[in-house]
Amino acid sequence: MSSEGITSGEYIKHHLQNMTYGNHPEGGWMFAQTAEQAKEMGFWAFHVDSLGWSFGLAIMFFFLFRSVAKTATTGVPQGFQNFVEMIIDFVNDSVRGSFSGKNDIVAPLALTVFAWVFLMNLMDLIPVDWLPMAAQWIGATFFGADPHHVFFKVVPSTDPNVTFGMALGVFWLMLYYSIKIKGIGGFFGELAFQPFGKAGMPVNLVLELVSLISKPISLALRLFGNMYAGETIFILIAIMYSAGLATGVFGSVLQLGWAIFHILIITLQAFIFMTLTIVYLDMAHQEH
């Protein structure tokens, strides 16, 4: 538990608040000092922490894999190349298993989604207070900010903006390839003439549009929900550390158990996101 004199409720709220930089109606472009201010900024605000970690992890992933790709030998793979090739092989198998069309973007897309989501989820395993406290210290020391008003949420995939951002990316690709492969008419026909034939067009449209739009939403919400719940449980466990020695010891055992269990969730969610991305794109490529 970070600092003295705040209640558990405040602690949790503080942990679930993003560091927001945006256009405040009164203060102009600024970092939000409170959750209310962040809300008042409306749409034109950025979660600096989410974006920072998300970009940072993606860049790290990119350069790690790029370094292997540059030196990849066809001989006996060594060390890190082994690991990278294992992932590539795994992703490639998944794509071949689920994607029947022929499109060079799908496999790299699946790899990006898998590795990125996995890394973002992995941030969940870092004890919940470490990075926010470091951010508070840095904010207070170098920028003269009130540590209580420095918010820092480390796990990007617990930010719905991030998960929706990725899901929307997948959604645009789905729309793009649906129209590219089937043509506007074909795509519209798919939405309008099924499942009840031409006579039931309005009903078809409603049904198919719902099912179409539910794809990115479910994709984003599934990841967000799982990670958010996991994060919240970590925060709740962290509260136990301030409630006496016995509770603290019990809490650390709980944290260890939950972290081990969470490794499974992290990988599973990354895998599900990747698989669904592949499947959705496969659907976009299939003509009925």
Partner: protein, 156 residues
Amino acid sequence: MNINATLIGQSIAFFVFVWFVMKYVWPPLIAALDERKKTIADGLAAAERGQHEQELAEKAAAEHIKEAKDQASDIVTQAQKRASEIVEEAKDSAKEEAGRVKTAAEAEIEQEINRAKEALRQQVAGIAMAGAAKVLNREVDESAHSAIVDDMITQI
């Protein structure tokens, strides 16, 4: 928890990273993987071919050995046959030679005997004539009695 422009930032980053990965990460890695796969497959195929060839070679070698053995035993049999033939021939020629020598010897003996007989007969005839001349002394007509004397000689 607010939905805000982070969404747009993340979407843009998403496309940028997908594009980067598609351009710089995926192709070289998958090419390396595919090439290694091919190398391994080729190696396995070559190994299998080698094994097959070895089997064939072993079979051929066994055949060669069998042939050689057959030939060797043929040669041995022939040699044995030839040897016994030679022995047989030698025996025959020896027998023949022996026969010939024997006949020659017999013929010679016969001749000797005949000659001896002849000589003996002449001597006997002379002795007989001398005896008869002594006995009869004068009136023996050689020509009249030679028939009788000859007859006597053949009887000896």
